[in-house]
């Protein structure tokens, strides 16, 4: 059984709370707030006006650039205003507010449960349809999917790697999706293979989901070129570069994208969205999210329409447990503690985790003992102890030399540190600073080149 070569840690997976809980539809809300930033890249531009009536699936905001994504109405009703709302970390973000009236869908959307297998579209048409549906990578980064499907000139995709790893502890939404919608996923995979012009697909699934592996294997046997690869348990196997290493044994160079080694990685949730967009004309207006925690009354996997306040989803799961010390958006490793749960669900919300008080405290940091555990744990081969010290001392140039921009924020260093040093906190700050310096330099170089032309 294979896994990626460098680093990694083994946190307890804690998936028992919500595993095998069937995907439940979350009831409709009455007042929806749809954020305009639900993806990496430029914010979407609203194309509706105050007072306008919209139906479910109607385009309400269009992509604000090449790396951006369309946003569609998840509810039917009247737009009340276009203003700013507060996200889970207390910062402002632009959003469309609407009053929900009934549940009226666009006629073009196929809402039947039938599985549609035939797809006679050309690759170009498929990509256009995906772009129009506003699909982004639902694994966490929310990178617009159509950008991945258009390799830069000179690069060719050879393998489609499907991410069914779900290495993040506690989260089970992808697992449940594979169990319940395996057939649709297979069709989605075939659509993507056609769009990319590849003949080989590898589905990576960690071995703690034996039923998902069995189900996908059974389905993959009927399709040419699709292979299911069970993987050893190791975090962060769901990271793009780690998954490529684990499944097809290629290493993506520093600073490069997976297409450099001929791979395109997509999460199972993204592929399900692709199926729905291409075969059923349904844009991305909902996602499965895991709501879980030790003391939660009804942990489970919920199908939530974007714009639904997270508080309503929490109510469905039995309300905030009394002993809650911290609420995390996403999983415990990559997720961020939230300041409030009034935020609406969106393309980014993959999970909500309620940690009890006794598990949510960070321990007092002690001195670094130079044990090197963080170095062996880093899946990108960096030196976290050094980078964190450099960030503390504001040595930005040195940090750049030591490849801080390769850091994927996985938190393995922090997890493994016996002195509980806040390594990632500092590295992340340094990454922000160095990123800013690099961007400024590129802008200056661009300006200089333009000046030279004149």
């Amino acid at each position: 059984m294979s896994t990626f070569k460098i680093g990694g840690v083994h946190p307890h997976d804690n998936k028992i709370y919500s595993a095998h809980q069937p995907i439940t539809e979350c009831p409709l809300t009455t007042k929806a707030i749809i954020p305009l930033v639900q993806h990496i890249g430029a914010p979407a531009q609203a194309v509706v006006e105050k007072g306008q009536k919209v139906k479910v699936g109607e385009l309400i905001a269009k992509a604000g650039g090449f790396v951006s994504a369309n946003i569609h109405a998840p509810y039917s009703g009247t737009i009340t205003k276009i203003d700013t709302t507060i996200d889970a970390w207390g910062m402002k973000m632009p959003a469309i507010f609407m009053d929900v009236e009934g549940d009226e869908w666009l006629e073009t959307i196929d809402r039947t449960p039938d599985v549609i297998r035939e797809c006679n579209l050309e690759p170009k048409e498929i990509v256009d349809k995906i772009a129009a549906a506003g699909i982004v990578g639902l694994g966490g980064a929310c990178f617009p999917t159509q950008v991945k499907l258009l390799p830069p000139p000179g690069k060719k995709a050879e393998v489609l790697v499907v991410n069914g790893v779900e290495c993040e502890p506690y989260l089970t939404c992808d697992h449940q999706l594979m169990l319940e919608h395996g057939e649709e996923l297979m069709i989605g995979i075939q659509i993507l293979m056609k769009a990319l012009g590849v003949t080989r697909t590898v589905i990576g699934i960690e071995k703690n989901k034996p039923d998902a592996i069995a189900r996908m294997k059974e389905l993959a046997a009927k399709v040419n070129g699709v292979e299911v690869m069970p993987l050893k348990l190791k975090y962060p196997q769901g990271g793009e570069k780690q998954l490529i290493d684990a499944t097809i044994h290629r290493q993506v160079p520093s600073g490069a994208l997976p297409i450099e080694v001929g791979a395109v990685v997509d999460n199972v949730a993204t592929i399900y969205a692709v199926y729905e967009a291409v075969q059923k004309n349904k844009p991305l207006i909902s996602r499965v999210m895991t709501v879980t925690g030790k003391s939660l009354r009804k942990p489970g996997n919920y199908m939530v329409r974007f714009g639904t306040p997270l508080t309503e989803v929490v109510e469905l799961a039995g309300g905030v447990p009394e002993d809650t010390g911290k609420i995390i958006g996403g999983g415990p490793m990559m997720g961020r503690a939230m300041n409030n749960i009034d935020m609406p669900a969106n393309k980014r919300t993959s999970g909500l985790l309620f940690l009890p008080e006794n598990e949510s405290r960070r321990q007092e940091p002690e001195n670094c003992i130079r044990c090197g555990k963080c170095v062996s744990a880093c899946p990108m081969g960096l030196e976290p102890y050094l980078l964190s010290k450099q960030a503390e001392l504001e040595m930005w140039d040195e940090m750049e030399k030591h490849d801080v921009m390769d850091c994927i924020d996985c938190g393995c260093c922090l997890f493994t540190c016996p002195s509980h040093r806040p390594l990632l906190d500092y590295i992340r700050m340094g990454k922000g600073k160095v990123g800013g310096i690099i961007r400024a330099r590129q802008m200056a170089a661009k300006a200089a080149a333009e000046a030279a032309k004149k």
């Binding site: 970390w89 207390g90 910062m91 402002k92 961020r336 503690a337 300041n339 409030n340 949510s360 405290r361 960070r362 806040p422 906190d425 500092y426 992340r428 700050m429 922000g432």
Partner: protein, 295 residues
């Protein structure tokens, strides 16, 4: 005997030749430098804080020597006395620079700004600011981890435990500007000290709309514009829901302070320190001497 003589001779001659060579080389590659640079550097404080805008004291000394007049060149640490000494060395009149002081533009005390969450990460403002809004609901206000205190080389800043806000010791503050750069939320501003250290300051940088700002903090500037209307000297501008008092125009009349519904405007270093008790005696005083008003 001979041996000693020969060694002495050889060494002596070698030394002499080397000395002549070194002298010639030193002459050939001599760097012409104004000796006054050293003299000027001598009188500068030598803190190398960069508050003057140059990279250390020597750079300022060089700039002073090169300059035709000292206008615009100021060592904020040494202040006017130091610049007078520099002027004496160079035979120039010291520029008329007004003394400045660091001002913390946030009065979101613990009572006014209740905590909405608890920050459990590294105790630096920079990291907390990158992560989220902070422990209170105000996305503009002081985070209270003391990045400014750590940045100050002169011990002029400290965190008041009661309010959770940094306090500037005006005696010690040299207005070098390190704290201004250290604050990730740009709360600290260098303002002119004002006559007898008196000045009017809007102690808030919240640019949210009134209701939102008020919800986050009782002492927030809500951008109502009352101070602007009250000000007779056009010293106050309200932009992005935030009032700002231009120290150059303010005549210290304190009307804005009374007009402000949230108490965001503070009068600093006025004789009776508590505003409410002051109001009565301060009023007649206003008529006697023209005071400056900042809102």
């Amino acid at each position: 005997m001979n041996l000693i003589l020969i060694s002495l001779l050889v060494l002596g001659i070698t030394g002499l030749v080397a000395a002549i060579l070194l002298y010639l080389i030193a002459q050939k590659f001599k760097v012409e430098e104004d000796p006054r640079i050293d003299q000027v550097q001598e009188v500068l404080p030598g803190a190398n804080c960069g508050g003057c805008g140059f990279a250390g004291c020597r750079a300022l000394a060089e700039a002073c020597v090169k300059a035709d007049s000292l206008d615009g060149l100021l060592c904020p640490v040494g202040g006017a006395p130091t610049m007078e000494k520099v002027g004496a060395i160079l035979g120039l009149a010291a520029g008329a620079a007004e003394p400045k002081v660091a001002v913390v533009r946030c009065n979101g005390t613990c009572e006014a700004r209740p905590k909405t969450s608890e920050y459990n990460g590294v105790r630096t403002c920079q990291i907390q600011h990158n992560l989220y809004v902070g422990e209170t609901g105000c996305p503009f206000g002081c985070l209270g981890c003391g990045d400014c205190v750590a940045a100050c080389q002169f011990g002029a800043l400290s965190i008041d435990e009661k309010t959770g806000l940094p306090v500037v010791d005006e005696e010690k503050c040299t207005s070098c500007g390190k704290c201004v750069k250290a604050c990730p939320r740009n709360i600290i501003e260098l303002r002119k000290k004002g006559p007898k250290g008196r000045r009017m300051v809007v102690e808030c940088v919240n640019k949210d709309k009134g209701a939102i700002a008020r919800k986050a903090c009782l002492n927030a500037c809500i951008g109502c514009g009352k101070c602007q209307k009250e000000c007779q000297f056009e010293a106050i501008t309200v932009e992005n829901n935030l009032a700002y008092i231009d120290p150059a125009k303010c005549r210290l009349c304190r009307k804005c302070e009374d007009a402000c519904p949230t108490g965001a405007i503070h009068a600093v270093n006025f004789p009776p320190r508590k505003p409410k008790e002051e109001a009565a005696p301060a009023a007649p005083a206003q008529n006697v001497e023209p005071k400056k008003e900042e809102a």
